[in-house]
């Protein structure tokens, strides 16, 4: 993932979770971020779609296990 996309994703996470000190790491999971529950997950995925102009497919929605995974998924979609 490009540095620019990483920064955009990080900035988006900070906004969505209201944590401007949040640093996005590849091994991070939902358990590491305060407030990341199932509803927040839907909101987050929608926010990522809006920010990057992509549409997740149904099975992609919950497929990633950590942030590194999400970034690879996003990269693949952006390359399409």
């Amino acid at each position: 993932m490009t540095l620019k996309s990483h920064d955009r994703l990080e900035e988006l996470f900070r906004r969505v979770f209201n944590d401007y000190a949040l640093v996005l790491r590849d091994r991070m999971t939902a358990a590491d971020v305060e407030g990341w529950d199932s509803i927040a997950h839907i909101n987050l995925m929608f926010s990522i779609e809006q920010e990057f102009g992509i549409d997740f497919e149904r099975d992609e929605f919950a497929r990633f296990t950590d942030i590194g995974d999400l970034k690879r998924l996003l990269e693949a979609k952006l390359a399409q």
Binding site: V16, F17, S38, I39, I42, F46, E51, R58, F61
Partner: protein, 637 residues
């Protein structure tokens, strides 16, 4: 993300900042413990547009801020949200949307999809929550019409499924009901034929919406989701992916629009609608600058710009016809500013339409304060409309109570900007609303007379006031409920009784209730006073006593007390008791009871209780107000 919406008209919001910047500032304020500032920035986030990502983030921060800080609000409102689909996001966004309408809103969210069970079960969290409003948020899937071949009785059955839920709620709670109507999916399998084929699902759903509106009556307000879905576009309102992901009946993208309208409707139901629109002149009511371009040089009437300004003026006049006051605040020489009103053939607004006209070189916040004072309304009743972003920001910073509409650059979108602010939503449209400008203009004239009469007595006498005082009846009930809901200043107890409660008072023999209508030689002020008292043995205990702000300072309170004294004598009551509950707005009546000779019998931090012997009071009321019956001026007292 939000740029796509800039063409759809300006909205109230900050200048030179964006939603993300306001969010960041809200977070900084929250972290440094400054709750009020955080809330101020969060309110601004909602004013840049209906971008879900910003809204969601602001809403979750607001939930945290509210743990320690209560948002400044005219009213605290408890809303029960019952849905047929996932309502978690709606529940979280509603308190945020409420900020723009001066409400502190709390939500009880019913369990997923269980709106019907929640209403039917007589015990349970819905009824324990004791809400002020019940929102029934439902989607098309709840309606069981076939695609073709539906019968009239199917429609009746469907309608009664909804009205029976309303009936149950009406019996069990005093809350008002907000019913979503059905946003109709645009993908009918039979295409255009659906519009003309009797019994098609498409037509049946349209009929259902229309019948729901007809059945709604006083206790139910329809939230017109079908209109909102059309407004934002049905491709955007419905997002099937998110329906399958997580049962979002309305797309997340459309939710800010929906909750903003919900909050506006609740605010309107509570009488929190803004009362006065204050407009600038140059480049707001016409194109160009009158002081430089002269009468023939300003753009008004012909050409695309000129027509847009005419349309905007006509829209403002429609607001005025609905009872919204119109005021002018312009940096101009007064002579120049008046010229188009007097001489321009395409000017729609006339000087007579304007309740207060201020054209001078004073700072606008100063003039806005003057306008509020002259009209005897709060700054929080004003909406400021100006094309100049600098003026808007100055007003926003120095008078945060004033709502500021961010006009777009193109006058073609002025109407949309004001309309989409939702600051003038109406609920109960009363006769008094329509007469309001006349009355306020009369007030301004009276202010002049007041300074010319040498004594207050002379002044009161010169007004030639007449009052009609009578028991509240069904005909006057809507106005009485409206006044109970919104009167802040002359209001001894500020008890916001619901319509149902007032109806119960009227049916109860132990309650004495009076309304007062006031006229003078300048205007008919309509129903401006309400007094409700409960009989306890030989005592009459005043539950509610209020006077609309336009009738303050006229001795109307003495007339009302006189009316109560007569009632007390007829019922053999020998004592009156009154309670004063102080609020931030009602200091004007803090000494009311002592002025009438009541003695203090109980003093607590939050209220004082006063009593007086009926024999010590004057049943004739005010010597300056003649009591009349109805409209025929027959004298009774």
């Amino acid at each position: 993300m939000s740029e796509q919406r800039t063409s759809s008209g300006g909205r109230i919001g900050g200048e030179g900042r964006d939603a993300a910047a306001c969010l960041k500032l809200a977070n900084d304020s929250h972290r440094s413990g400054n709750g009020p500032a955080a809330i101020g920035w969060l309110k601004r986030v909602t004013q840049f547009g209906d971008d879900f990502v910003s809204w969601q983030s602001a809403a979750s921060l607001l939930a945290r801020v509210r743990e320690t800080h209560t948002p400044p609000a005219k009213r605290t409102v408890k809303v029960a949200l019952l849905g047929s689909y996932t309502t978690a996001q709606m529940a979280s966004l509603l308190p945020l949307a409420a900020l723009a309408f001066d409400m502190d809103l709390e939500v009880y969210e019913g369990p997923y999809g269980a709106y019907r069970q929640e209403i039917i079960n007589s015990i349970g969290p819905l009824y324990e929550a004791d809400p002020d409003f019940v929102v029934i948020a439902v989607h098309e899937g709840e309606v069981a019409f076939p695609q073709i071949g539906g019968k009239p009785e199917d429609l009746d059955a469907e309608l009664s499924r909804w009205t029976s839920l309303w009936d149950i709620l009406k019996q069990r709670v005093s809350a008002r009901i907000i019913q979503h109507n059905i946003a109709i999916r645009p993908d009918s399998p039979i295409g255009h034929v659906a519009a003309s084929l009797e019994g098609s699902r498409y037509r049946m759903l349209q009929d259902l919406n229309s019948r729901l509106g007809l059945e709604a009556g006083e206790r139910v307000a329809i939230l017109d989701c079908e209109r909102l879905a059309s407004l934002i576009g049905k491709r955007r309102w419905f997002d099937d992916r998110y329906w399958y992901f997580s049962k979002q009946g309305v797309s997340l993208e459309a939710l800010p629009l929906l909750v903003r309208h919900t909050a506006a409707l609740i605010a309107a139901e509570l009488g929190l609608t803004r009362k006065c629109v204050v407009v600038d002149l140059d480049n707001t009511l016409w194109g160009g600058v009158i002081g430089e371009d002269d009468l023939s040089g300003i753009r008004l009437g012909d050409g695309p710009h000129g027509e847009a300004f005419v349309a905007f003026q006509e829209y403002l006049l429609e607001l005025k016809r609905r009872g919204i006051l119109l005021a002018v605040c312009s940096k101009n020489n007064e002579m120049d500013a008046r010229l188009p009103f007097e001489r321009h053939p395409d000017m729609r607004i006339k000087l007579d339409d304007v309740a207060v006209f201020l054209a001078n070189w004073a700072p606008k916040p100063e003039n806005l304060t003057t306008i509020a004072e002259r009209l005897n309304i709060g700054l929080d009743a004003l909406v400021f409309v100006d094309d100049d972003p600098v003026e808007r920001e100055i007003v926003r910073l120095s008078l945060p109570e004033v709502a500021v509409i961010r006009l777009p650059d193109d006058p073609a979108y002025y109407v949309r900007a004001v309309s989409e602010s939702l600051l003038f939503e109406a609920r109960l449209f009363t006769q008094e609303d329509a007469q309001r400008t006349e009355q306020y203009r009369a007030r301004a004239q009276i202010a002049e007379l007041e300074s010319s009469a040498s004594t207050l007595e002379e002044f009161y006498t010169s007004l030639e006031m007449r009052a009609e005082i009578a028991p509240i009846d069904g005909f006057h009930l809507p106005r009485v409920v409206q006044l109970i809901g919104k009167t802040n200043q002359f209001n001894l107890t500020t008890r916001r009784h619901s319509r149902a409660t007032v109806e119960a008072f009227l049916a109860d023999q132990e309650y004495v209730h009076l309304y007062l209508k006031l006229r003078d030689r300048f205007a008919d002020h309509g129903l401006v006073g309400v007094l409700i008292a409960r009989r306890i043995g030989d005592l009459l205990d005043i539950d509610t006593w209020l006077l609309s702000c336009r009738a303050i300072g006229r001795t109307a309170e003495a007339a009302m007390l006189g009316g109560l004294v007569v009632e007390a004598q007829m019922r053999g009551c020998t004592r009156l008791r009154g309670t004063y509950i102080p609020t931030t707005k009602n200091a004007v009546v803090s000494d009311l009871f002592s002025r009438f000779g009541f003695r203090l019998v109980e003093e607590q931090a939050r209220k004082t209780v006063w009593e007086c012997d009926v024999a010590a009071l004057d049943p004739s009321g005010s010597q300056f107000i003649e009591r009349v019956v109805g409209r025929d001026d027959a004298e009774v007292a």
